[in-house]
């Protein structure tokens, strides 16, 4: 099939970018979206032009590196799919495709479709862990965790940290990303001792890193390639409320 691509090109963080138009001809429906871009790049290189820079690594939909907004939707229109797992059979001959980077103030564009997502790491550093030491921990079965709780934690833990939630959010909020970690650790006994401190520290990091506030649009859930539910945001809110109850031990 033959396609027309409009791709965001931007030389560096300080430059002004713009959409440029490219043709992708003879695309096979079995190709992945990134393989289609690989080919466009090969053509650009042969024409002596600068190929399109885009983040990608595992190409299995798990590392969270790939990050493109395709026709206004982070990771494209196929539900629960990362760009690297999106295949060209989802498109039709003659389609016009707009490809843009994640857009959020907290994610400065480094080049073309590549953005800097360090802010997400900083949110994690604020409290996305249990402060256990290496070694000297209890036997894994010493903590009994019922299947429903383990499943709930796993549902939250599936987040791949790609930032599609931020890209989709009208407020550029990282609430879904943050809530997934807060919720995972809040329901597990391992995470409970630090739950009060964690929810506050991580919530505060959202703002200090330049993300917006959550106003319950739920676009994040719709865009999430792993289907992380906004129920975890409700859980985060609940955890925050709990943290407001004064404790005599604080």
């Amino acid at each position: 099939m033959d396609l027309t691509l409009h791709v965001w090109r931007q030389k560096g963080p300080q430059d002004i970018g713009k959409l440029e138009t490219y043709k992708a001809n003879g695309v096979s429906p079995d190709q992945s979206f990134l393989e289609m871009l690989d080919e466009v790049n090969d053509d650009l290189i042969k024409a002596g032009k600068d190929p399109i820079a885009f983040d990608h690594d595992c190409r299995e939909g798990i590392c969270g590196m790939c990050s493109q907004v395709i026709n206004g939707r982070p990771h494209g229109h196929q539900e629960r799919t990362t760009v690297c797992q999106l295949h060209m059979r989802e498109f039709n001959d003659g389609d016009e495709i707009f490809i843009e980077p994640w857009r959020a103030r907290a994610f400065p564009i480094l080049k073309d479709l590549i953005v800097d997502r360090t802010a997400l790491d900083v949110v994690m550093q604020a409290g996305g862990y249990t402060s256990c030491h290496t070694g000297g921990v209890a036997d894994g079965n010493a903590l009994l965790i019922g299947k429903p709780v383990a499943d709930y934690a796993m549902d939250a833990a599936e987040c791949i940290g790609c930032g599609a939630c931020v890209a989709a959010c009208p407020n550029s909020s990282a609430m879904l990303f943050t809530s997934a970690k807060v919720a995972q650790l809040a329901v597990l006994p391992q995470g409970k001792p630090e739950a009060r401190r964690r929810v506050r520290a991580m919530a505060d990091a959202i703002l200090s890193e330049g993300f917006g506030n959550c106003t319950n649009h739920y676009e994040c859930e719709a865009a999430c390639p792993k289907g992380i539910s906004v129920k975890f945001i409700a859980k985060l809110n609940r955890e925050y409320l709990k943290s407001l109850i004064p404790s005599s031990m604080d």
Binding site: K11, G12, S28, D30, Q31, S32, E35, D38, D42, I45, K46, G48, P51, A53, H56, D57, C58, R59, E60, I62, C63, G64, M65, Q78, T81, H87, R89, L110, K111, I114, R117, T118, L120, D121, Q125, A126, G128, Y129, T130, C132, H133, T134, G135, V137, A138, G140, N141, L143, L144, G146, K147, A150, A153, M154, A157, E158, I160, G161, Q184, Q190
Partner: protein, 616 residues
């Protein structure tokens, strides 16, 4: 064993390259001990290392299911699974700490699968007759890596670890024969940066992207370990590469990578091909039971579909070579869940492997519940790697190597769910102990980046980059990588012969030659330049591939992932030669276009009897 006093630890600086399970766990654990750690990764965040893609699980000898497992059995299975080409002591240590890993991960909040009573659940994996694999749905690697990443994040927050993301190590700085630092390229700005450390830890993963198409991430490369090799570190057993049996078959020639599906699928899936070649184009449901060849169950009745990876892969290749492969390319075999669906119901199978079926459908547009999946082997893991001693230190003092990047525990073949185990064992429980005696023997911070060796190294890196950029030839990096890959897959892949290996040894230098004369790397040195990144990774593969092939040619035996067609039994099984090859082949680099020098480390088995590895 010497230790470093707690108040002295903060005087030492350790560089950790790579932030996967081994590197991430090492950086976190060493930071927590009080060392100053600087960690490096080429991705934008330490959480993206390719350990994240491991699906099936992690082994431990907990024996929770009460099925006769023990540390000794895990040790034995690993040595046997590795076809008796691993160092016994290292494997024993690995088996010993395996249980601690599970406990550690649970403490971090890794949501392992649990049963209704709240206890940890287990599943079975290839090459073992006990259920010792712990898992978190089909995303065990992800969850374990996020556990290590969370520990690392905590140390970054505490200021014990300084994280340098989007940096790629392009040289090892060796001063008077001792590893003292690294030279990196800042992948965003193009700046060449020098970092000093009292010790350097490489945890940079494996090299199977030398085959171009593999299950590794696009950025996985041999660059870090190859640069170390060029500075004098020995490369051990590079011919031991694992070809994973359950990958989605290749489609067309535009594909950029192969996708693995967890070996755990073989718990409930039955592998078969039609008995007759003329049935291959039929819809699988039209092929009656008696016309199907469940070849793994037929050949290996006691392990059946759970035969180890090397054996399952080779059996698939044999079936396809026999003209009985399925799918458009005829390079595929069926993985059939019908029997399990009939026995357990679709919902149970969905619960166990739902995400894998989804992934399969996304890639192939076929429904794995409706018709059997098609699978084919693909390069997946490198058992070989830099040579290390029991302390995980290479022959260059101060250079430690962890995880897939070293050669130590998997011998000639790795069992499923053992890579995660090794990575975390090395990072959490081995290196924190074994690095101490080395550090205790030196004065910290003696050599810093103002040493002339650092300047020299940075200069060399810049020169090499400028050379690549100035060629402006006709071929893209991708095209040349594909050429190398097809040579390696055809000649140094699942079955190797003297002729094929000699052919590869002729072709590799030719492609290398073409690279340095006819590659077209666009863009400049001082910018974010992905073509340049790919170019230097390929340049290193083009040198490394030759050493790998040399190793394969010299090893006149078949063992594990290394199968020489000249050395097989009458029924096509691998034939080891313990008399002449029961050693680790550690190669010393002698220069481009010069033959590397072989050093042998004999393997002595004190607790395991060398035996023919049988899964029949």
């Amino acid at each position: 064993m010497k230790l470093v006093n707690p108040s002295n630890k903060r005087k030492f600086k350790i560089l950790v390259v790579g932030t996967g399970l081994a590197g991430g766990a090492a950086a976190a654990s060493l930071g927590e001990l009080g060392y100053n750690v600087e960690a490096f990764c080429y991705q934008d965040s330490p959480r993206r290392a390719h350990s994240i893609a491991a699906q099936g699980g992690i082994n431990a000898a907990k024996s929770y299911p009460n099925d006769g497992d023990s540390i000794y059995r895990l040790f034995y299975d690993t040595v046997k699974g590795g076809d008796f080409r691993a160092r016994e002591a290292d494997v024993w240590r690995l088996a010993q700490v395996s249980n601690n890993i599970i406990d550690q991960c649970v403490a971090q909040g890794v949501p392992f699968a649990r049963d209704y009573a709240g206890y940890l659940d287990n599943r079975s994996f290839g090459g073992a007759q006990v259920s010792r694999t712990f898992y978190a749905r089909g995303q065990t690697g992800q969850q374990l890596l996020l556990g290590a990443y969370s520990a690392l994040s905590r140390q970054i927050k505490n200021g014990q670890v300084k994280m340098y993301a989007r940096r790629e190590m392009l040289d090892l700085v060796v001063v008077d024969g001792v590893a003292k630092g690294i030279t990196c390229r800042n992948l965003v700005t193009g700046e060449i940066e020098s970092y000093w450390g009292d010790a350097v830890i490489l945890a940079t993963g494996g090299f199977v992207n030398v085959f171009y198409l593999s299950t590794n991430a696009m950025g996985c490369s041999a660059t870090a370990i190859w640069k170390a090799t060029k500075k004098g570190a020995y490369m051990a057993n590079p011919c031991y590469t694992q070809i994973h049996p359950t990958c989605i078959p290749q489609h067309g020639d535009k594909q950029s990578k192969l996708t693995l599906m967890s070996e755990s699928l073989r718990n409930d899936g039955r592998v078969w091909v039609p008995k007759k070649a003329e049935d291959c184009d039929k819809h699988p449901s039209e092929i009656p039971e008696e016309a199907r060849d469940y070849y793994l169950e037929r050949k290996y009745p006691s392990f059946g579909n759970l035969a180890p990876r090397d054996i399952a892969s080779r059996a698939a290749k044999e079936a396809c070579d026999d003209g009985r492969g399925v799918g458009e390319s005829k390079r595929g075999v069926f993985l059939d869940f019908q029997a399990s669906i009939d026995r357990l119901g679709k919902s149970v199978i969905e619960g166990r492997y739902g995400n894998l079926f989804e992934m399969y459908e996304k890639i192939t547009a076929e429904d794995g519940y409706e018709r059997p999946m098609r699978i084919y082997p693909a390069p997946h893991y490198s058992m070989g790697g830099l040579w290390v001693d029991y302390q995980c230190m290479s022959n260059i003092p101060g250079l430690f190597v962890l995880g897939e990047a070293n050669f130590s525990v998997h011998g000639a073949n790795r069992l499923g769910a053992s890579a995660l185990m090794q990575g975390l064992a090395d990072g959490y429980f081995v290196i924190p102990y074994t690095i101490a005696p080395y550090l205790a023997s030196l004065t910290p911070g003696q050599i810093k980046t103002d040493h002339p060796e650092f300047k020299q190294s940075a200069e060399n890196v810049k020169q090499e980059i400028n050379k690549m950029l100035s060629i402006k030839g006709k071929k893209t990096v991708g095209e040349l990588h594909r050429e190398l890959g097809s040579v390696m897959w055809e000649d140094v892949g699942m079955a190797r012969s003297e002729a094929s290996l000699k052919h590869a040894l002729k072709r590799i230098p030719e492609i290398r030659e073409e690279f340095w004369n006819n590659v077209n790397v666009t863009g400049g040195a001082m910018e974010l330049n992905q073509q340049l990144e790919n170019a230097w990774r390929l340049a290193d593969f083009l040198e490394f591939a030759e050493m790998m092939t040399t190793d394969a040619l010299h090893r006149e035996e078949s063992c594990g992932g290394h199968f020489r067609t000249e050395h097989q039994t009458d029924d096509g099984e691998a034939m080891r030669n313990d008399e002449d090859f029961c050693y680790v082949g550690a190669w010393e680099y002698k220069g481009v276009d010069k033959a590397p020098e072989l050093h042998k480390e004999p393997l002595n088995f004190e607790n395991v009897k060398l035996a023919v590895r049988s899964y029949k």
